[in-house]
């Protein structure tokens, strides 16, 4: 199918641990799929500290919101260990959105707006080495 060919011609990039894939506040023009490794999504909280919003594992998508609503990056995406990401062409996303049912498109935009609003309203505590270490220990206890 022509569509499959389109999806396969994608840019792939490797990142080292700590590399910034995009910065919070940047204008967004690409969405990404993690092919290998992990990506940490980090946001600035009160006091200028950083808080982890989530970890995207292989197969996961990130960066799609700013691409769709033409806003700025809500958080930074940072390689957690070496990782490989595929970028999804903006053209593809825009074309498909334009062609889709207007009600579906409206709901997609609404969900993005809600995600941004709720994230802004959430007073996340900052990451600390102690807290992150404690979480790892808790999870490994069955």
């Amino acid at each position: 199918m022509a569509q499959d060919n389109q999806v396969r011609v994608l840019n792939r990039r490797s990142y080292y641990d700590g590399d910034v894939i995009f910065h919070e506040g940047d204008t967004g023009s690409q969405a990404f799929v993690v092919q290998q490794g992990r990506v940490r999504i980090v946001r600035t909280v009160e006091g200028g500290e950083k808080a982890t919003l989530g970890i995207i594992e292989a197969g996961g998508i990130f960066g799609e919101m700013a691409l769709i609503d033409k806003s700025t990056r809500m958080a930074s995406a940072i390689a957690d260990g070496t990782c490989v990401c595929i970028s999804i062409p903006e053209e593809t996303v825009r074309k498909k959105l334009k062609a889709c049912d207007p009600v579906v498109r409206t709901v997609i935009l609404m969900m993005i707006r809600m995600i941004r609003t709720v994230a802004d309203e959430t007073r996340l505590p900052p990451d600390t080495v102690d807290a992150l270490t404690r979480e790892v220990t808790e999870e490994t206890v069955p």
Partner: protein, 152 residues
Amino acid sequence: MSDTASALGKRRFEAGDIIFMEGDPGTETFLIQTGRVGLMKRGADGLFEPLATLGPGQVFGEMALATKRPRAAGARALEDCQVIAVSRAHIDEKLKDADPFIAALFRILAGNLESTLDRKREVERAGRPRTDAVLKGRQEALDRAMDDLTGA
């Protein structure tokens, strides 16, 4: 066409009508065409506190389309009004026929919205969110959606 009309229905409410109550199961999102709607929440003392007043062109009850949570607030017609109600069944039908990329994107965003709401609730309750464990669970759902996206 009649399916669309009933799923994407026009509704009229009279001043004072309760459109939905806080805690009700939510299956529809509403767009106001005419009139005004007041959102309200029950306070600690059991009395209703007004949250917001919405007018023509504004949407309310939008969480219902993305999540299965009960209504976070109640909605009442402040004056006679006409609204368009969009049901989740309508959206699910549309997603069935949609480009798989769009359907996958929708599921991913709905999942992210749930995570974001969960996290907010965690923070408000305990002052510290669970992170990796909760999000890994979400990630499994996202991986399934991603299979459609990459044509796997």
